[in-house]
Amino acid sequence: MSRVSPDFTGLVATYDDGKLVREKNHFYSKLLGRQCATNWGEIALKKVVSLELYWRGESKIKISKEDKPLISHEDWYFTHSAIMDAVSPKPKICSRNIGYKNDGILYLYSVDEDTGALKVQNRVAK
């Protein structure tokens, strides 16, 4: 059975107990006490064993602790950008990025919202 619905676009985080956290949009975070574009702020970094980005139901990139056992919870990195224009009532996600830090380099993988293209970026980890 697929982990997501056929038209799902977003992040799926897997916890060490097998629980899946699927992205929700226009989300009120009780943890942060405010309205957020997604529920990413509530993902518990200490429990994450894999991050996976889907685009229209298709898995575009998956990073897992199984493949990279040296990743610690502090090394996970995920961020998204969103815009709020004058006419839309809710923010629109432009790009989603997942990655991890290792030996001073941040390995970042992004999926373009419009085309589904995977973009690879290596940066120096701050």
Partner: protein
């Protein structure tokens, strides 16, 4: 005592060759926050006499007020000996990318070069030299890993692509797959420098018009375009360079590798294609091919028969379903260990030692 590095980064003199390497290191130095100044020799020489370009570069390198600690030459093949001999306190770093094929001119200057980073393992690890280091070629995430593949123009799409110089070994290999190309009607493209082929060669049929200028002369495909063709191809063929044949002499005697160093290492294409997300068919005639990649990441071949059968398998057979997984694994391998950012970090580890 100097303790802060500052680099003058000098491109190779030729336009087509090594600009990808030069820009790769430019991006890496920027990302790492290393103070540097770029000296794009290949542009300067279009407007100035070549000797003036060398003098300008040398003057800049040794100016005390600019404070360069190192001059890093990409390629470095055409740099005159006086430059290496008279850099005074400034250290010379050569990042060679054409070894072992054209090693001799730089081998003669090794005594005057402080650090020689060779793309060829057999040279870098040779007991003959004490200032050579291994620095394989790589790929640049700023160019290869950032294109929206689905948005490319039609001309960039193909089923099978070869983009490179047409050495005799490559010509023979490509001729061997023509019957399969015709049988399945694959969109087959040969690009780059096919000029070494004879006029009557049937492979000319597969060289597209964008490889020629309006006068019918072959034009160099710039790296920005090369990357688009890689992105648009289902399969990119990667043959290694003929170790014997040399385009300058056009015969089967390469005069620039007199010590006959074995070619073991990979070319930049081996890293660029995976980062573009396309399936690479890699000739496994070099030791490093299977040391760096495995069969879960790329498809190997050793002659035209195995190449044809691999193409059939991955374009028409059961292999079609494996391609997505393979290309993803290869992409991750390259992005995590074989980019210019990784190479620059390795170079810095060596050259920073002397500053401490």
């Amino acid at each position: 005592m100097q303790n802060k590095i500052k680099i003058l980064l000098v491109s190779d003199t030729t336009h087509f060759a090594l600009t990808d390497v030069y820009y790769g290191y430019t991006h890496a130095l920027k990302a790492l926050g290393i103070p540097f100044k770029a000296y794009p020799f290949h542009h300067f020489k279009d407007i100035l006499n070549r000797d003036i370009c060398y003098q300008m570069m040398h003057s800049e390198a040794v100016r005390k007020d600019l404070g360069f600690t190192h001059v890093m030459f990409i390629g470095g093949l055409n740099i005159p000996g006086f430059v290496f001999k008279s850099l005074y306190d400034v250290k010379s770093v050569v990042v060679a990318t054409e070894d072992p094929h054209t090693f001799d001119p730089l081998k003669d200057k090794l005594d005057d070069i402080d650090y020689y980073f060779s793309n060829e393992k057999s040279i870098a690890t040779s007991d003959q030299f004490d200032n050579t280091y291994y620095c394989p070629t790589a790929a640049d995430t700023f160019t290869c890993g950032s294109l929206p593949r689905n948005n490319l123009d039609d001309k960039y799409h193909s089923d099978v692509l070869f983009l490179g110089a047409m050495y005799p070994n490559r010509e023979k290999m490509l001729s061997g797959i023509l019957s399969a190309v015709k049988k399945y009607g694959w969109n087959f493209k040969i690009m780059g420098h096919p000029g070494f082929m004879k006029e009557e060669n049937p492979l000319w049929e597969y060289v597209p018009e964008e490889n020629f200028d309006v006068n019918g002369n072959i034009v160099t495909v710039p790296h920005e375009e090369t990357v688009k063709y890689y992105n648009g191809a289902k399969v990119v063929l990667n043959f290694f360079r003929d170790t014997e044949w040399n385009p300058r002499t056009n015969d089967m005697a390469n005069p620039y590798n007199s010590d006959k160093f074995e070619a073991q290492s990979l070319n930049p294409r081996a890293y660029e294609v995976p980062l573009c997300g396309s399936l690479q068919m890699l000739e496994d005639t070099r030791k490093e091919a299977r040391q760096v990649f495995n069969e879960d990441e790329v498809a190997f071949f050793s002659d035209s028969e195995t190449l044809a059968s691999q193409l059939e398998y991955y374009l028409e057979g059961d292999g079609v379903d494996k391609v997505k997984d393979m290309t993803m694994k290869a992409l991750l391998k390259v992005s995590e260990g074989h980019t210019y950012l990784h190479r620059m970090k390795s170079i810095l580890k060596v050259i920073e030692k002397d500053l401490k």
